[in-house]
Symmetry: C2
Subunit: 464 residues, 2 copies
C-alpha cells in the first residue's frame, strides 16, 4: 500500500501534496506501468485522510495522464517512458539601468522624441473619460481594421491637414508601420518584387527580407526615384517617401509624381506605397500634398504613424487602401484581430476629435523649429563654419551638413565618437556604396538635449 508522510507538505493543499508524491513515484519508476493503485477508500483509510482528497489527487493524475481508470476495476499507472524532473529554481529578474546605451555629449543619430513632449495630462484625462463613459464599447472586440470612431477621426484629420479625401472605410489601423508592411505583403502577395529607395531607411528592406520577399534597391536622381532605374529593376511595388525622403530630405516634384503614377498604371500588379512618416513637420509653408491625393487609379497605399507625430510611447499607425484593395483586405485578411487595444484606439480618436492632436503637432513643430534654430545658430558661430554647407533644413527632424574635409567618413565618425559625439553620414544609408556621396553628415535633432547642443557642436567642429 502507498504510504506517504504529510509532515513536510508546508502550505500545499493535501490533495496537491498527495498528487505530487504519487507523480514523483511514477516519474521515478517506483510505481511501474500498469501497476494497480489502491482504491480511493483504501488509500484514504491508510493515510488517514478523506476520500475526497484522494479523489482530487487521482483526478489531477488522470487529467495529466499519469494514471488511468478502468471502470469497475480501479486505477492503474500509465506508461511513462522518460520523464525528467523539472528544475525548481526561481527565475532571476533582469535589472538594467533605464538605458544601457553609451552616453554622448551630443547624439546626432538618435531620433527619439523629447521626453517632455507627450501630453500626459490630457491623454490620461481622456483615458479616464473613456473608461467611465465607454466601458461597454471597450469590451466589444474591435473590427480588424480598427474601430469606427478612430477611422472617422483619422479621415477627418487627413482631410483637414493633408487635404486628402479618403473614406473611413479605406483605413486600416495597426500597431506600428512595420506591422502594416507585413499586412501589405500578405495583401499584395509574397511573389511581388518590392523596390525601395537607395539611399533610404534601411529597416524597410530588412522587413521585406525577414518576410522573404524579393527586394531591390533603386537609386535616386535629383527628382527622386529614377524612372529608368525603376523600369530596369523589375519592381512591382515601389515603397517611397515622396513628401520628405529619408535621409536626403528631397521632395519628389509634381512632374516626377505623375511619372511614378504613370509607371504604376502600366500593370495591374503595380502599386506605390507612400510612406508619409513626418509630413507634419514642415517649417516653411504648407505641408507637401500627398501622392495619394492625386492618384485616381487606385494605385497608392498611403501609410503614416502617430508614433512620430505624437509619441513613440503610442504604437498606432494606419494605412489608407485604395477601395479595390480594401475589398481584398476584407475578404482575405479581416479575420485578423486589430493589433491596437481598444483603449488606445478610443483615446486617440477623442484626442484627435477634440483638437488635441493639432495643438500637439503645432507645439512640437515650434519646439523642433527652436531646436533646429539653436543648432544652426550654434553652427554659424563656429570659426570653421565656412567649411560646411547646410541643406534641407526646412522640413522633417534632420538636415544635411556637407563638410570640407580630407578625412574619410569612417575616420571622422570614429574621431567624433571618441570625442563624445555620435554622427551618421549620408553614405551609410546607401545600399550601393559606389553611388554614395561622401562628407555629408545627417544631423538628427529631435532628441537632442538642448543644454548640450553648444558643447556637442564645439566638439564636432573642433575635429574639422
Amino acid at each position: 500500500m502507498l504510504t506517504y508522510s504529510f509532515d513536510d507538505r508546508g502550505g500545499v493543499p493535501l490533495y496537491e501534496y498527495l498528487y505530487n508524491q504519487i507523480k514523483q513515484d511514477i516519474i521515478s519508476f517506483k510505481l511501474s506501468a500498469d501497476e494497480k493503485l489502491p482504491s480511493k477508500r483504501a488509500l484514504a483509510k491508510n493515510l488517514n485522510i478523506s476520500i475526497i482528497t484522494v479523489e482530487n489527487a487521482y483526478s489531477q493524475l488522470i487529467a495529466e495522464g499519469y494514471i488511468y481508470s478502468v471502470p469497475k476495476s480501479g486505477f492503474y499507472v500509465c506508461d511513462i517512458s522518460s520523464a525528467k524532473p523539472m528544475s525548481a529554481d526561481k527565475p532571476q529578474r533582469v535589472t538594467k539601468p533605464v538605458t544601457d546605451k553609451k552616453k554622448y555629449v551630443a547624439d546626432f543619430v538618435n531620433n527619439s522624441m523629447s521626453k517632455d513632449s507627450f501630453p500626459f495630462t490630457v491623454w490620461s484625462k481622456i483615458m479616464r473619460e473613456i473608461m467611465s463613459d465607454s466601458s461597454d464599447k471597450l469590451m466589444v472586440r474591435s473590427p480588424s481594421a480598427g474601430v469606427d470612431e478612430l477611422r472617422n477621426a483619422i479621415a477627418d484629420y487627413l482631410y483637414q491637414f493633408r487635404g486628402m479625401n479618403v473614406e473611413p472605410e479605406q483605413i486600416v489601423v495597426g500597431a506600428g508601420t512595420e506591422y502594416l508592411y507585413g499586412l501589405i505583403i500578405q495583401l499584395l502577395g509574397q511573389d511581388m518584387k518590392f523596390g525601395v529607395e537607395d539611399p533610404g531607411y534601411e529597416k524597410i528592406a530588412r522587413i521585406y527580407g525577414a518576410n522573404k520577399v524579393e527586394c531591390v534597391h533603386i537609386p535616386l536622381d535629383e527628382g527622386g526615384i529614377s524612372i529608368d532605374k525603376l523600369e530596369e529593376s523589375g519592381a512591382d511595388v515601389l515603397h517611397i517617401s515622396p513628401a520628405h525622403h529619408f535621409p536626403t530630405g528631397f521632395v519628389t516634384p509634381i512632374s516626377r509624381r505623375y511619372e511614378l503614377l504613370s509607371w504604376a498604371s502600366k500593370s495591374s500588379k503595380r502599386y506605390i506605397i507612400e510612406d508619409d512618416y513626418d509630413s507634419e513637420f514642415r517649417f516653411l509653408g504648407k505641408p507637401i500634398p500627398s501622392l495619394q491625393s492625386i492618384d485616381v487609379l487606385d494605385k497608392v497605399i498611403y501609410i503614416n504613424t502617430f508614433s512620430k507625430s505624437l509619441s513613440s510611447t503610442i504604437r498606432i499607425s494606419y494605412m489608407v487602401l485604395p477601395k479595390p484593395l480594401m475589398e481584398k483586405y476584407k475578404k482575405e485578411l479581416s479575420f485578423y484581430s486589430c493589433t491596437v487595444s481598444n483603449f488606445d484606439q478610443y483615446t486617440l480618436a477623442r484626442f484627435i476629435d477634440e483638437g488635441h492632436l493639432e495643438k500637439h503637432i503645432n507645439r512640437m513643430r515650434n519646439y523642433y523649429r527652436t531646436q533646429r534654430d539653436t543648432l544652426l545658430n550654434c553652427i554659424k558661430k563656429q570659426s570653421s563654419y565656412n567649411k560646411v554647407k547646410i541643406s534641407e533644413e526646412h522640413a522633417g527632424l534632420h538636415f544635411l551638413m556637407e563638410i570640407e574635409t580630407k578625412l574619410s567618413d569612417t575616420e571622422l565618425k570614429k574621431k567624433a565618437q571618441q570625442a563624445g559625439v555620435n554622427i551618421a553620414f549620408l553614405s551609410e544609408y546607401f545600399y550601393d556604396k559606389s553611388n554614395a556621396k561622401s562628407h555629408t553628415v545627417v544631423i538628427n535633432y529631435s532628441g537632442l538635449n538642448q543644454e548640450r547642443i553648444e558643447e556637442g557642436i564645439k566638439v564636432l567642429f573642433g575635429l574639422i
Copy 2:
C-alpha cells in the same frame, strides 16, 4: 503679368491663396511649361502685396515642383503633363450602432468576455501612477522583445502559476498571438511545413495560409495529435494546445507529451508551438503543467495571451522562446519595434507585480464557474435532459453537449438560429469532414448574458 483678385480668399493666408491661384493656372495650362513668371518684386507691386508674400508662395510652388528657379534669371513653370484637380468633398463619417450583429436570445458561439469583468479602476489607477512616476521610461523606446519590467513580471507569473522556469530574456512580447505567429514564421522560415490540429481553431490555419506557408491538418485520436499521422504528414512545426484542446477540451496525457517531444527531437528543423490560451481557467484541481516545462531539448515555443485572461480590450501576448531560438531572434528579428505601447507594457507589469492579475483570474474563474453551473443546472431541469450528454466541462470556457437527434447538424443549427439561439457544432471545426463527429454542440458560455440563459436553454431544448 499675372493678376489675381484677393477678394474671395476668405480666411486663407495671402501667400497660400496666391500659391493656389498660380498652381491652378499651371494645372489648367493657363501657364505653360517653361513660361517665365514675373519677378517677386514685379508681382508684388502688381498685386499690391508684400514681396515676402510672393516669396512664400513661390517657395511652396518650388517645393512641390510646380515651378523652378534659374539663378540670376528668374522663375519658370515646370512641365506638368496630366494633373487632375482633387475632389474637395469632406469625407463622410461612418456611424453604426455599437454592434450590428444579430441579437440572439442566447449566443453559445460568441466567446467574448463579460463586459463587467475588466478591473477598470485598478488599471486606470496604475496607468496614472505610471504616467506620474515613470514618464521618463515611457518615452524610451521599448526593446524589440518588450521592456524588462514586463518580461520579469511574466517570468515570475509563469513560475508561480504555471510552474515554469523561464528566464525573462526568453520572452517576446507582442500585440496579440496572431502577430506572434507571424514572427514565428519569419523566425523558423517560410519553407517549413506547419501542422495544425484537426479539429481545431480555424484561424491558425488561416494565418499560415495568409503568410503563404504550407499548412497540413493532422487528425487527433483519443490522446491528442496522432503520432503516426504526424509522421505521415511531413510537418516540421506542430502547433497544438496540449493543456486544453479547442474545441474538444481534451488534455494531452503525459505519455503522448513525451512522444511528441521525442518526435520533435528527431530533426533539427522540428519544433512544437504550445498554445496555452486558456490554461488559467481550470475548475477542477490544478492547472495542467505545460509541455514547455518538460522540454529539455529546446523544442517548445510556448505562447499565451492576456487578451483571454485579462480582457480582449488589452492586446498583449507573449511567447517563450528556447534559448537558441532567442539568439536567432536577437540576430534576425530584433530590428522590429515592439508592437505593444510602453503604456500598456508598464501598466501590465505593475498590475501583475502587485498581484492584481492573480486576483482578477481568481475572480473570473469563480465567475465562469457560476456561469457554467447556472447553465448546467438549467440543462438538467429540461424534460429532454436524458437526450444529451455533457463532457469536458471542467476546464476552459466551453463544454461539449452530445445530442440524441435525427436532425443533421446543419438542420438543427438553422432551426436554432431561427428560434433565436446561436450554436456551433463540433463537426464545423473539422477540416476533414469525413472524420467529423456529428450531433455534438460546442457550448461557449464566457459571454452569455446570465439573465437569458434559462430562456436560451428552453428554446434550444424545445427543438430536440
